[in-house]
Subunit: 431 residues, 2 copies
């Protein structure tokens, strides 16, 4: 954490003016923007934590430019971060574009030395998390995200790939160690112990935070999930698939920012989606103008949660049925009529196991957003701290149960039903 | 399989005379052998499948030289194999030497270009499989092998390593794709389908082979194991830990030939040991001069099987208790007295899961040795084919049950008890 900040030769962090000169030399960008570079408007908009993000507009169109910074912005230069994450992001975006066409931004230019990607400027898309705070319904979200997850996970797994292709991907992503380590520490470890970087809505959540630090069953469960995260290279994950990594309009969805991509357990991605929808659900109490004012929206959020998982499951199964030519579950073993039937049953069992993983990882993602370093604005924007803590306590109670009693949830409907019940629960707060 | 045979620049397969000139220039070898190189005796002894093996003797001592061939010897030049496996073998031997001192041959010299390793000549050690056919008791085997497996698996897992160290090992071994593929095809796939390379004791085993090709539950079970083998990078495996990879005397044990090494599921190594002991057990019927003549030996084999697993389990648990400083199950989460207790229970649960994996992989290893390409001389040397097929049918019946009804075996004693019962079973043979 305190190593001196080093940047590779040739790297420099751009400001709007230096970026203008740089882009003027890149024909793939210059030609898209059009006109005289001097007339382009360039603003640095920032994505919060890890990167510089510029919006560049020319007479013909706009371009987004993302450049990795050599440190974690949220914390400052004391937390260096490898610029190579731009390499992993670019690699992941390329795979995603192939498998989930139209659901990721188009890439125009990539500069490895500068850790810089120029890509499609998404307008009028907004970050989904903001839209959900505003109560915006996204009718295409569940269908698009379930397609994204099913396609990117299936086609990068042993169900679709030959072993050598899959192992080449494992080797290619094995270097994204430091970003994985952030996840390992911030999601699977620190929220369950006393750690300097933790924070929560004190004093209201003090008792709950303490009870989670004391919860042996929960700590074993999250440690099993951590082992799975560290060992189980099932497929290429986005690695950070929350509602802050989705930009959309009611008509169109794009998944951005796969810099945490690596080969890991599929349930980590599907769990991230469900975790963030559930947080959005519970946070509505802090965003409605009168009690019950967001009831319809709450119903939509749970419907989207249900549709996402059920859609994912159906699509993944169909992809397997139609494209299951990888080295896992080898086709010749199940070629007979009886074999086909047995394999069909195993697909359901496989997806049941993936659902259990999904719930466990979703729970871990919820807990870290309430007790760990990085919080969600869904909850953070609730200014009444009692109201916020109430929503957070409901999130925590559901998450704890999802992680420890995973087997009790046989369907996504059961999860949503439990969320609805807990939304009426008045927790005993501290302070 | 039919790509033209290519060798990298600088590679040449040695014969005894060219090897003499080569070794004379390598001081680490020349000085050990002593005397005039012209007086060294050099014989090519062959290890069967993949490599040239030379025994070189000088006045001072002997040296073993292993050189990888660019094709699979068993099949011939039509099956090219990457010479880089010597690199993985050398890397694995180095890790093993650090973690299981004295249980692997000492390395004197490694030549990457020639895919050649010069190492300790093991004399009077013999390949354990030969000793078991002869009915030799190895009193130190179970203790030594359980130490080897516990140490090499524990210290290369996330229980002992920091995440970055572990991921570096994953990256380092990710290239051993083609040897993993041999395992994936020959162990987890072909024995369960009609495949050109399969063979078995026909016609006696024809009905059993057919019933295994028709066994949907078994094919699903072996496919789940295959997925685990392909995805789950728990620790550095030897990758081929059968009784042909153990050279020993009654006093001393060495594990050789880790060219299949990669980061995979621990149960694959422990399962390989148990599989080969069980095959040796069932094969005794073909090696005794009169019925019951090997009863004492059979009892020893089952005792060694029991001692291996129980020793492994106790040692692995102790290593975890005393050296569990890796990033899995982070120590700060379990620091309290209650936490320590909860973690102790989880260690047992972890080892229960590993035992289940072990039985599944053991079963897969047994089945492939009877229905697949590569057979064991324990069984092959039984000239009476009816007797051999009887032993093989008993192996298959136990293996099928271990893989499909894994949960029914709560202990290694239960497995050995079932083996004893099945050793009295007279299968209905084909033909």
């Amino acid at each position: 954490m305190t190593a001196p900040l080093q940047v590779p030769p040739g790297y420099r962090a751009h400001d709007p003016e230096s970026l203008r000169g740089y882009l003027a030399e890149i024909s793939a960008v210059r030609d898209r923007l059009g006109g005289d570079p001097a007339a382009w408007t360039i603003e640095e908009v920032g994505d919060g934590n890890l990167n510089l993000v510029f919006k560049v507009r020319g007479p013909a169109m706009g371009v987004a430019v993302k450049q990795a910074l050599p440190y974690l912005r949220l914390v400052g230069e004391g937390w260096p971060l490898p610029l190579e994450r731009a390499h992993f992001e670019h690699m992941a975006l390329s795979h995603e574009a192939r498998h989930a066409r139209g659901l990721v931004p188009e890439i125009y230019h990539y500069d490895e030395t500068l850790a810089l990607i120029a890509m499609e400027l998404l307008e009028p898309h907004i970050i989904m998390r903001h839209g959900m705070i505003a109560g915006t319904v996204y009718p295409k979200f569940a269908d698009d995200l379930s397609t994204f997850a099913a396609n990117t996970l299936f086609f990068t797994s042993d169900l679709a790939l030959k072993a050598a292709e899959k192992k080449a991907m494992v080797a290619a992503f094995a270097g994204n160690t430091e970003l994985c380590k952030i996840t390992e520490d911030l999601i699977f470890t620190e929220p369950y112990m006393v750690a300097e970087r933790n924070r929560w809505t004190a004093p209201y959540l003090d008792p709950l935070a303490a009870s989670i630090r004391d919860d042996g069953d929960l700590k074993v469960a999250v440690s099993r999930l951590k082992v799975k995260f560290m060992c189980d290279a099932e497929a290429m994950l986005h690695g950070d698939l929350h509602t802050g990594s989705v930009m959309l309009t009611p008509q169109e969805t794009r998944v951005i920012d796969p810099e945490f991509a690596f080969m890991g357990p599929m349930g980590f991605d599907t769990g991230a989606v469900i975790a963030n929808l559930l947080i959005a659900y519970f946070s509505q109490v802090g965003h409605e103008s009168a009690p019950g004012g967001r009831d319809d929206y709450r119903a939509w959020v749970l419907q989207a949660t249900t549709d996402f998982w059920n859609g994912f499951r159906a699509k993944f199964k169909k992809l397997w049925e139609e494209n299951g030519t990888g080295d896992a579950y080898p086709a010749p073993l199940f070629a007979s009529e009886a074999g086909q039937k047995r394999l069909a049953a195993e697909r359901e069992a496989y997806l049941d196991r993936l659902f259990a993983d999904t719930l466990g990882f979703a729970a871990a993602k919820i807990i870290r957003r309430i007790l760990g370093l990085a919080h969600n604005i869904d909850l953070e924007k609730i200014t009444d701290e009692r109201v916020r803590a109430t929503a957070e306590a409901r999130c925590l109670r559901l998450a704890r149960d999802m992680m420890v009693n995973t087997g009790a949830y046989g369907s996504i409907e059961a999860v949503c039903g439990q969320a609805e019940r807990l939304n009426g629960w008045e927790p005993k707060l501290g302070g």
